[in-house]
Symmetry: C2
């Protein structure tokens, strides 16, 4: 039979990143295209040990149904931890455990948005979130990124001229794909504008702990006095993405609605994975582990930036992130981005075309994203050299 | 701030079952209200051993990102297994690994339905699916259940008078909540009607392996020559619900769309859980395990039916399932169902009010659901005796 999809589903095409991820796992391809934690960042022995002990002490609890809201000790621990360490979340907020932070964007979009609404996001932004937001039927409006975050004038212009904006979606720390961090000043301005125009903010913060030198500015959620910010947290970059555990911190009515929606998507998140996160946070040296991660990524980023200086800086401009996993590279007008990405693949390096991160893939874009956490140091060296070779073919 | 939810999300209230599940976990309450596998049904030692060996042989693989479609060996194994054992799935079909079968209903509804559309389901039906289908914005149309499945005349009447039906949702085996099995004849009729009126079928089959004496009739998917049936399978009732692993078998364009949508919900399902399911199916005695489950539930069901005969049959009529986990009880008109369910809670037994399973909770309903898999044998005995006491207060 012929299938006719719904209007909302019709706009969704398989994510370019996922498709390139598949390519990037082809033998011999150097994966500058992924967003994977470095293999050495996983505390495999500790998680293996936790898992073994969980199956010894409560095997049925690891396999039986659980509640949609999430494993209560993990919810409580996350709530206390985020409140104490980051002043993120208040007594009027609640925590929901989700299948990765990705699910927070899906729940927020479906809870609040529909056809006729608009959602504002950074441009470029994370493709997985863009698709989750689009699936609600809302129109996505991208605000150009500057060195210190969104162009505030452009943001206010959209908020003041459109009457239908429901959400502002932002990755304030070491943004995916640009690596840009929103300044403290701009965080306050964005929050003030959200209040002025009565819209919600989704603050997506998977990378905040992965700073190189200094912690990023305080979360927007920490200055949220109106329960206007939905904070999306994740264990993917600080513990394991394969576990698929993230969380939302938001006003109680929002979490109640998210819970009802999550029931329709997956009933609850894998319960063993929730126990693993709880035990790792509460019974092991989580802060020491984060310090270790910061060491790993600081070194990786330094190597990548040194190599970019050596091989790319003649031709390509690029961001210099203070944390996270990504840098954003822009080609001169004389080189076609899509042609370059294809050429790079011939030289056995996969990078992600910048168009993948735009609200509309038809917008002109001469940038591409590099991830430096997935490749080994040797792959970084060979990869940047290969990018240089690919660039040289355009001379 | 005050929150304004989207029209679709507005119709979703927290599931009555989930709320009662919370009550049913209060100390001392006998849980006739759950849908949990019996604790003795979990192969805890084997799964513990599998998990330990997975962390020894491929620790990083258990923690790293994976692909949205699911772990390839599991997808292939499920595809072969279902094709060989049940002639379910063809070369034109593909398999997607999901977060429980629940996610299949979410993906199908969002992929195909929107405001203005209608979805047909059995009445009563599983509340989690009802909510997933409703979230698309479509109208739900319930078809009354008879001893052998949906009332076919009523089904054809709806299909012929409505021009906007997109999906028929059916649980053909040991249905939740009624325990009813759709006859072979009716399966063929339903499929023929779906072809005649060009609508898709979602065949949700979490309980099919849990038959007491004879296997149920062949799946509707096994007679599907037009890739019209979306088959939803689950490991929740045959291995573990806490792992949250299910799957869809459907036409390739459908699975491609589902994959794009799943990316927006959770990126992929927990990868460790996928490996566990694969190892358990492929390296252990899966058929022996299923036989063991059938023994457990056959005994539980027999005990429950004997107790129902002893304590309820004077006053209450009830279904006599040939498999699965549930029986559906109907009170005489003289007893108000909601009052009875509350009274039963006073007597320390939780059952689920039948209204929870209707497309519209305002429809009159004098039935309630009993689950006999979660309580221990002793709890079954005490629980049925307590229901009798609660009934007697209405004399």
């Amino acid at each position: 039979m012929e299938y006719r999809f719904s209007d909302n589903a019709d706009v969704l095409k398989p994510s370019a990143i996922r498709e390139i991820l598949k390519l990037s796992s082809a033998p011999g391809i150097i994966p500058f295209s992924a967003g994977n934690p470095a293999p050495e960042a996983f505390p495999t022995d500790i998680i293996g040990g936790i898992t073994e002990s969980l199956f010894k002490t409560d095997p049925i609890g690891m396999l039986q149904y659980s509640v949609t809201e999430g494993y209560m000790p993990l919810r409580n621990y996350v709530k206390d931890y985020m409140a104490k360490k980051y002043r993120t979340g208040s007594d009027d907020d609640e925590v929901l455990i989700t299948c990765g932070a990705q699910q927070v964007m899906s729940l927020a979009a479906l809870s609040f948005c529909q056809k006729g609404d608009a959602i504002i996001c950074e441009s470029p932004s994370f493709v997985g979130s863009i698709n989750a937001l689009k699936l609600s039927g809302a129109e996505l409006v991208g605000i150009p990124m500057q060195q210190d975050g969104m162009d505030i004038a452009a943001l206010e212009n959209e908020l003041s001229t459109r009457k239908n904006v429901k959400l502002i979606y932002i990755i304030p720390n070491f943004q995916n794909p640009t690596g840009i961090t929103t300044s403290e000043e701009k965080r306050k301005q964005i929050y003030a504008l959200a209040c002025k125009y009565n819209v919600l903010i989704i603050e997506d913060n998977p990378y905040g702990d992965l700073y190189f030198k200094n912690p990023p500015p305080a979360t927007i959620k920490s200055i949220d006095t109106e329960n206007r910010v939905i904070y999306a947290g994740s264990f993917s970059k600080v513990l394991s993405p394969g576990l698929r555990i993230g969380y939302a911190i938001a006003g109680k009515p929002i979490i109640a609605k998210f819970t009802a929606l999550k029931q329709t998507q997956d009933v609850h998140s894998n319960i063993l994975a929730q126990h693993i996160c709880y035990k790792f946070m509460s019974e092991h040296d989580f802060e020491g582990h984060l310090n270790n991660l910061r060491d790993i990524y600081t070194k990786k980023a330094k190597l990548a930036l040194d190599l970019a200086e050596e091989y790319l800086s003649d031709t390509v401009t690029y961001t210099k992130p203070d944390g996270g996993l990504f840098m954003w590279c822009t080609l001169p007008d004389s080189i076609d981005m899509t042609a370059f990405v294809k050429k790079a693949l011939e030289y056995m390096v996969a990078v992600v075309p910048g168009t993948a991160f735009l609200t509309d893939a038809a917008i002109a874009c001469n940038s591409f994203r590099i991830n430096y956490s997935t490749p080994t140091d040797d792959e970084l060296k060979r990869g940047f050299a290969a990018l240089k070779q690919a660039l040289d073919t355009f001379k």
